[in-house]
């Protein structure tokens, strides 16, 4: 897994590439926790190049969503592959998360 980061209009835009599994999830979680501890509350996750997710990765997403909600922040995901979108549905996540097709759609949500 690779993580890319940039900031735009106060929103943390993070790209997740590759596999978000039990081996790599702690790295993403640590990075997000570091940002959350700095009271960063708005996030866009670019999932276009995320190839795979397991329950460890889903847990990191759910935990991020809960923490941003507590801070009245926003979390938007975009570019989920069809396979990953199906896993979100099975997990019952599609009703918690804001999912967009592309970055423009994700940024619009913050307007």
């Amino acid at each position: 897994m690779e993580i890319t980061e940039r900031k735009q209009n106060g929103i943390n835009i993070m790209g997740i590439q590759g596999r978000l599994d039990t081996s790599s999830a702690p790295e993403l979680e640590a990075r997000l926790n570091a940002l959350l501890d700095l009271h960063e509350k708005d996030y866009i996750l670019d999932c276009r190049e995320m190839e795979y997710i397991s329950s460890s990765g889903l847990r990191v997403f759910l935990s991020l969503l809960k923490r941003t909600a507590q801070m009245n922040g926003k979390l938007v995901l975009f570019g989920l592959s069809q396979s990953i979108a199906e896993i979100f549905t099975i997990a019952g996540f599609e009703k918690y998360f804001i999912l967009k097709d592309d970055e423009a759609g994700a940024l619009d949500y913050f307007q």
Partner: protein
């Protein structure tokens, strides 16, 4: 050869070998891509459950995984010599209808496995845990 097998040690680092094993199987059998994702996911969930919960002795153990294609189904068998451990009982199904504030962070692994496989059954044979999973193709 219709039966594929791999022996993994009870360490999370072995996930990489598990992934390679599944990739090779799906490629050789020319199965559609969705099987690659879902088999990887199911086996990761089962394997990590065993690594985290089945052994308390701090020793090295082997986890044996076999996949066999039988007509239009995949039959997966996961075997270990850990303490009696039925993953189908361990986690109550998460309540996926709960509002976000009440939704538990955990409990997802077995829920995903149950939903992606048509059959999941556990039995104890001597000092071994045997989990059998069936996925229709």
């Amino acid at each position: 050869m219709s039966k594929y097998a791999i022996t993994l040690h009870n360490r999370i680092e072995e996930l990489r070998r598990l992934e390679e094993f599944v990739n090779e199987f799906v490629l050789e059998k020319r199965l559609p891509d969705c099987n690659l994702f879902e088999l990887n996911l199911v086996l990761e969930e089962i394997f990590t459950n065993i690594v985290f919960y089945a052994f308390k002795d701090g020793e090295a153990h082997d986890i044996l995984i076999t996949i066999e294609q039988q007509d239009s189904a995949l039959c997966i068998r996961v075997e270990d010599d850990g303490m009696p451990f039925d993953p189908t009982l361990r986690e109550p199904p998460p309540d996926i209808d709960k509002p976000l504030e009440e939704r538990d962070i955990g409990g997802l692994g077995i829920h995903l496995v149950r939903n992606l496989m048509q059959e999941v059954s556990y039995r104890r044979e001597g000092d071994r845990n045997i989990l059998t999973l069936i996925r229709k193709l």
